[in-house]
Amino acid sequence: MIARRDVFQAIADPTRRGIIQAVAQQSLNLNAIADKFDMSRQAVSLHVKILQECGLVVITQQGRERYCEAKLSQLKEVSNWVDQYRQFWNDQFNSLDRYLDKLH
């Protein structure tokens, strides 16, 4: 089984961020993406593959063309760490508060 790619890693690359923005507006086939970013179809395929592996885009076959569509829910998952971490620290600070009170 291939390890799922990290979303952080996937969006670290400016071209891939550009691709996400573009396909979030409308589904695009690989040629259209290649034209938009002035890249070879091969290079586009590689970026799209990485985005696909971490679930940020899905590829659908429409006739002879493969279309690339954005799945932004993955980005939300990335954002959740902040909420989780804020909650974690609030709990820690509450606990520290009680500990300091006991020391008095």
Partner: protein, 168 residues
């Protein structure tokens, strides 16, 4: 702190909290194994200190247990300036002290850099915590930051705006 960290801090989680105790006492709660054993760790999971070396590059390795469940955590200390400043990188860990993924989410960062600044006024101490993922690149942070004027909201608010922007 290098440039990358400076930039990253612009899009980080920031929490400020005031404690009703002098600075030295608050700082020492982080600086002594016996103190950490009393208050650090997930709520309801008492911790056991496995290793504690409070110096730059040193490691705090601990075990948290409740009802048969066991988890380990690890800090690697960065800058330490007694009573004023404490930096460490925190992560979930295994029993050997290696870094592991968060047990609850594969999207939670592997390692998080934490910087705590301590300031005392009128016998009360304020901690300002700044935290951000170690594996996030500067570009990524700028990407998040570029999508919002208010970076204090952190990623959650930023990404909600990003989504709106992208869906235009």
């Amino acid at each position: 702190m290098d440039n990358t960290n400076q930039h990253s801090a612009n899009a980080a989680l920031v929490i400020t909290r005031e404690f009703n105790a002098p600075q030295q006492k608050v700082f020492n709660a982080f600086a002594e194994a016996e103190a950490l054993a009393e208050w650090w760790g997930p709520p309801g999971f008492p911790i056991t200190v496995v290793a504690f070396n409070f110096r730059p590059g040193g490691v705090f390795h601990y075990k948290a247990s409740m009802q048969g469940q066991t988890a380990w955590g690890r800090f690697v200390y960065g800058q330490i300036s007694r009573y004023d400043l404490l930096e460490f990188t925190s992560s979930f860990s295994n029993g050997q002290g290696g870094v592991v993924r968060a047990p609850f989410s594969d999207k939670f960062p592997m390692e998080i850099f934490n910087r705590l600044e301590f300031k005392e006024q009128d016998g009360k101490t304020t901690i300002t915590l700044t935290g951000y993922p170690v594996n996030a690149t500067e570009e990524e942070m700028q990407f998040y930051a570029s999508m919002t004027g208010n970076m204090q909201q952190g990623f959650a608010g930023t990404l909600a705006q990003l989504e709106k922007y992208l869906l235009g």
